[in-house]
């Protein structure tokens, strides 16, 4: 069975400060890793994903995540956040070839001016 743990339920941060949202996973098979973002009262959107190759993946809006196989982690980082980054962030995995997303509990990122 697979599980995803997001270590922080809420992360408050000031605008232009760096942020890291932590994600660890557990699986007996290989997984693909995803970060999704949910803005208030909206559906989820893909932020970035790791499938294979370079362990550092980037999104178009400045987020990056690094896959660490030995620590079974996929932490999300941004060097300088904006007010508009305020949202719920979900880490997820799909086990092997299966297409069901298994989500963590989410991390609420609150960016303050």
């Amino acid at each position: 069975a697979q599980s995803v743990t997001q270590l922080d339920s809420q992360v408050p941060v000031f605008e232009e400060a760096p942020v890291e949202l932590r994600c660890n996973y557990s699986s007996s098979v290989s997984v693909y890793l995803f970060w999704y973002v949910q803005y208030p009262n909206q559906g989820l959107q893909l932020l970035l994903k790791y499938l294979s190759g370079s362990t550092l993946v980037e999104s178009i809006n400045g987020f990056e995540a690094e896959f660490n196989k030995s620590q079974t982690s996929f932490h999300l980082r941004k060097p300088s956040v904006h007010i508009s980054d305020t949202a719920e962030y979900f880490c997820a995995v799909t086990p092997g070839g299966y297409n069901k997303l298994i989500f963590g509990a989410g991390t609420r990122l609150a960016v303050h001016p």
Partner: protein, 113 residues
């Protein structure tokens, strides 16, 4: 053009009633999903259909019955609604693969009184 749409957006109903939620995608995907997000924002897959065939059926009560009339539509019918069914229900679609991005609808907020 909305990629994944759901109707209705809000649903308020009494315990014991039967209700349906409709989902349509215009992305040409062959796989569709229903996810449930509870009051603590936890997301869990309920069902997945690939080319109108049920491929994932998590431990969901029999009161929930998905139906896929064609690849572009996946509806969810709920019988004998209970208080615990109150949640946000998200439809999603993708191509069939654990690597593919899932595209989510805006959600249907169900409140059972």
């Amino acid at each position: 053009d909305t990629a994944v749409s759901q109707t209705p957006k809000y649903l308020v109903t009494q315990m014991g009633n039967d209700k349906s939620i409709k989902c349509e995608q215009n992305l040409g995907h062959d796989t569709m999903y229903w996810y449930k997000q509870d009051s603590k924002k936890f997301l869990k897959i309920m069902f997945s259909y690939n080319n109108k065939e049920l491929i994932i059926n998590e431990t969901v009560p029999n009161r929930f019955s998905p139906k896929s009339p064609d690849k572009a539509h996946l509806n969810l019918h709920i019988n004998s609604l209970e208080l615990g069914d109150s949640a946000v229900y998200f439809c999603a679609s993708s191509q069939f693969s654990g690597t593919e991005t899932q595209y989510f609808g805006p959600g249907t907020r169900l409140l059972v009184l």
